[in-house]
């Protein structure tokens, strides 16, 4: 193994063990209690997204012009009765063409609008297809057919049923636009939260070395870039242990109570396994990118007080990246989403959100390369700033120059 790489992992190993093999690490592991509280707040945000997506839901009836007129009249009578309870989603009437069944399933899978239930066929025996959780809308459509027939036939048929609907729930894999956005938001929030909890610690990572003078030993033995990367990897190892522990518990909970996963209604467009892998990779990138920034900024601090003072701008920076990425999750494909996907420090969050709403894989490969490049650039700049600002070697101008020092 290359000596620089070896040195990187030796520093990472030392940092990892220095954190994990202490009693305070147990306190660190309890941090999810705090996370659960924040998670509640995040859930509110996510439910707002979900609510807005619910407002965007549609139901549809594929009907002949004659049926449409009668159905509209029935809707006009029924809807005011139901509106006080939130009411069914907006109903759209779709002209009947060749095969209404194909049209119905096409509407449910549409990316343009969020159709959750569609009725087609003769009103006496209508077919209703709906998303699993749209049973209320499905019942509304069935009742419309029934009321339309009753009106046509002069009403008063006692408990006799005139319309016998066949109701079919679609597979859960058919995801809705709202569900995808919710999934995207959850991905952004989760990655942000875990990064906030873990990457922010890197701001004080060099304080130990500076206060006990070990930095001189490290700087003499290894390139500063290796020192910085090693420290980041060490802390990332701690983060992985943390995420692995709680993620494992969550997995056990989901295995024991499968309804939890169903209730979460996670429907990433790219597919759940790929989505989870991408989220893991984007968490790694988010950690490395933000961690490198914080490590570099913290390295310039001379005292613990200065490090404490730096906490605020660092938290503000993180929240700004979260805000940008949340906006991206809320409006996929918009110019703000594109900006958040390209801007290096919000890119991991925004791309995780994109994985929830867009099935194409190549943008993720490109984004991971882009983010990896920025991890390297950030570490190089941080190391150079440290060399200039703390070790007093070279000039500030040279820290941003293009003559990158060799790692080996």
């Amino acid at each position: 193994m290359n000596l620089t790489l070896r040195q990187t992992f030796i520093i990472a190993r030392r940092d990892f063990l220095a954190v994990v093999a202490t009693p305070t690490f147990l306190l660190f592991l309890l941090a999810p209690l705090f996370m659960i509280i924040l998670g509640g707040l995040g859930g509110t945000g996510a439910s707002q997204v979900a609510q807005s997506s619910a407002n965007a839901s549609r139901i549809a009836i594929i009907a002949t012009p004659e049926d449409e007129a009668d159905l509209r009249a029935a809707e006009k009578r029924l809807r005011p009765l139901l509106d006080r309870f939130g009411g069914p989603p907006e109903l759209q009437y779709v002209p009947m063409h060749a095969d209404p069944k194909i049209t119905a399933y096409g509407l449910l899978k549409s990316n343009k609008a969020d159709y959750i239930a569609v009725m087609y066929g003769p009103l006496e025996q209508p077919e209703i297809v709906h998303h699993p959780r749209a049973t209320g809308s499905s019942a509304f459509l069935a009742e419309l057919a029934e009321q339309t027939l009753r009106t046509r036939k002069g009403g008063l048929f006692g408990d006799m049923t005139l319309s016998k609907a066949t109701v079919t729930a679609t597979q859960t894999s058919v995801s809705s636009v709202g569900g995808r956005q919710t999934t995207g938001y959850l991905a952004v929030f989760t990655i942000f939260l875990v990064t906030l909890l873990l990457a922010g610690q890197s701001v004080g990572m060099l304080a130990e070395e500076k206060s006990n003078k070990v930095i001189e030993i490290l700087a003499a033995a290894a390139p500063l870039e290796a020192v910085f990367l090693g420290k980041l990897i060490g802390m990332f190892g701690v983060a992985l242990l943390f995420v692995g522990f709680w993620g494992g518990l969550a997995a056990i909970a989901v295995t024991a109570i499968p309804e939890l996963l169903a209730a979460a209604s996670l429907q990433p467009a790219i597919g759940m396994p790929t989505f989870l892998i991408l989220c893991g990779l984007y968490f790694t990138m988010a950690y490395m990118l933000l961690g490198a920034v914080f490590l570099g900024v913290g390295g310039q601090a001379g005292t613990i007080r200065e490090i404490q003072m730096l906490s605020l701008p660092i938290t503000v920076f993180q929240v700004a990246m979260f805000g940008l990425s949340s906006a991206a999750a809320g409006s996929p494909g918009s110019s703000i989403a594109r900006f958040a996907e390209v801007f290096p420090f919000s890119s991991p969050f925004a791309m995780a959100a994109r994985a929830a709403t867009d099935a194409s894989l190549w943008p993720h490969l490109l984004a991971l390369l882009w983010q990896g490049l920025w991890v390297a650039i950030t570490i190089l700049i941080a190391a150079r700033l440290f060399r200039v600002g703390v070790l007093k070697s070279g000039s500030w101008k040279s820290a941003f120059g293009f003559g990158w020092s060799k790692l080996a």
Partner: protein, 305 residues
């Protein structure tokens, strides 16, 4: 000076905030020798060593370390004890030594094994599994020194290695340095305590005000000052001071003066002929301490001009 020497530097200059800390230092430490870098506080010794090691880059000048123009490329062949000692307080001594060796390319397990043996030899066998924070400052300093040589480097750079050590540990350290030299290592160390340099160094540089004011052997440094005599006459009377050199001063029964350039023979003959006799007479070269003080004071006087 040869650029093939393990340590070679030519015209090193370093500025901090526009002030020149090192103004053009050149030095060369020959293979297998113990080379001293001497100087008063703030002379630029540490900055020079850090430039030679590649921890910081010089603003001007050239350096070669073990034949490498980029000192970082030789870092695994070098051992370094910085002036400001630093170890992780929570680490066990054995682990600290192995960690420092691993940073220089030594296998971690081999480092742990060697750490135990070295600590045993240094009289720290009972503290192998003690954490650094549980050790005394002197013990921790020895641990750090062992950490800087555990990978058996070709070159060992020690910045003020004796400071903070009690006399017993200073003896330990001197033995250790000599043992490393016997192994074949070249040793470069800085100090402002002349006794160690006098005992250990084959050659040395004296830096003052950011410049090398002297380069050579200990004897050459001492040779820069004339010999001093301490004379006790048989008969001490009013005529005696006139016979002695002008700088003669009386301390107790003895007269102290600089031995005249031509030697002491003429003076001794005159003293005997005039009946003052010789009850006691010693002549010796001034020590490195005096030479050092003389060189540094000359540098200060030169700077004041």
């Amino acid at each position: 000076m040869s650029s093939n020497d393990p340590v070679w530097a030519e015209g090193l200059i370093k500025r901090f905030d526009k002030a020149e800390a090192v103004k053009g230092v050149s030095l060369s430490a020959p293979q297998g020798e113990i080379y001293g870098v001497l100087g008063p506080n703030g002379a630029g010794k540490t900055t020079t060593l850090r430039m030679i090691l590649g921890i910081i880059d010089p603003d001007a000048g050239e350096r070669r370390l073990l034949g490498e123009s980029n000192p970082r490329n030789a870092s695994h062949r070098v051992g370094y004890l910085p002036e400001e000692r630093g170890l992780y307080p929570g680490m066990k001594a054995r682990e600290a030594i192995a960690f420092m060796g691993a940073l220089r390319g030594l296998d971690w397990n081999e480092g742990r094994k060697r750490a135990g043996e070295m600590m045993e030899q240094a009289g720290l066998g009972a503290s192998v599994d003690k954490k650094i924070r549980q050790m005394s400052k002197g013990m921790a300093q020895l641990v750090q020194l062992l950490g800087s040589i555990v990978h058996k480097p070709e070159l060992i750079v020690l910045d003020e290695p004796f400071s903070g050590l009690d006399p017993v540990n200073q003896e330990h350290l001197e033995s250790l340095i000599l043992a490393e030299q016997a192994r074949g290592a070249t040793i470069l160390f800085s100090t402002h305590v002349m006794a160690h340099a006098e005992r250990l160094c084959a050659r040395l540089s004296i830096i003052a005000g950011g410049l090398v004011r002297f380069e050579g052997t200990v004897d050459e440094a001492r040779g820069r000052l004339p010999m001093r005599a301490s004379y006790v006459p048989v008969k001490d009377d009013a005529e005696l001071p006139a016979l002695l050199p002008a700088d003669a001063t009386k301390i107790g029964d003895s007269w102290r003066f600089t031995v005249p350039e031509g030697g002491a023979e003429t003076l001794v003959l005159k003293l005997i002929q005039t009946g003052h006799g010789i009850s006691g007479l010693t002549m010796e070269r001034p020590g490195l301490h005096d030479a050092f003080v003389n060189i540094v004071q000359s540098a200060k006087a030169e700077a004041a001009l």
